[in-house]
Assembly symmetry: C2
Homo-oligomer: 85 residues x 2
């Protein structure tokens, strides 16, 4: 069994309005040293297969078909083998 941790990020060239809002909020609250805020998604899940190749394939398909928007976002996959839970 594997534990997958996927980070889904907007491409660098695409504006991140949620990050901009947090940045602006920081200024309003008096945080003067905070800049360049980007807010992305981290998705964690279990993959119930025993072979790494199959797990990678399934996770990458799941990311591109459902979790991310390939036009605007990139994803990074981390897989870690774990014991059955």
């Amino acid at each position: 069994m594997y534990k997958a941790k996927v980070i889904i990020k907007r491409k660098k060239s695409i504006l991140d309005p949620q990050g901009k809002a947090a940045e602006h909020g920081a200024v309003l609250l008096g945080f003067k040293n905070i800049a360049d805020v980007r807010i992305d998604k981290q998705v964690e899940f279990l993959v119930n297969v025993n072979d790494e190749e199959t797990a990678k394939k399934e996770v990458s398909e799941f990311c591109s078909k459902l979790l991310s928007n390939p036009t605007m976002e990139d994803f990074e996959i981390n897989l870690e083998e774990i014991d059955e839970v």
Copy 2:
């Protein structure tokens, strides 16, 4: 200057409806091995101070005052020293 990477997670005991929706979507798309999906936030930003203690204090205040909801969420902070950009 520091680069901060903060993961904001709902507490384990709190339902994650977005994760549940992705899990259900996975079943509908025929992914049979994916379970326990949780979707969290990853926030990245620059902290323009030169001393680690001050950076930590400012980031942790920013997280608890603006980025997270302390009733429902926990956060994890990672700081990495970087050269000026």
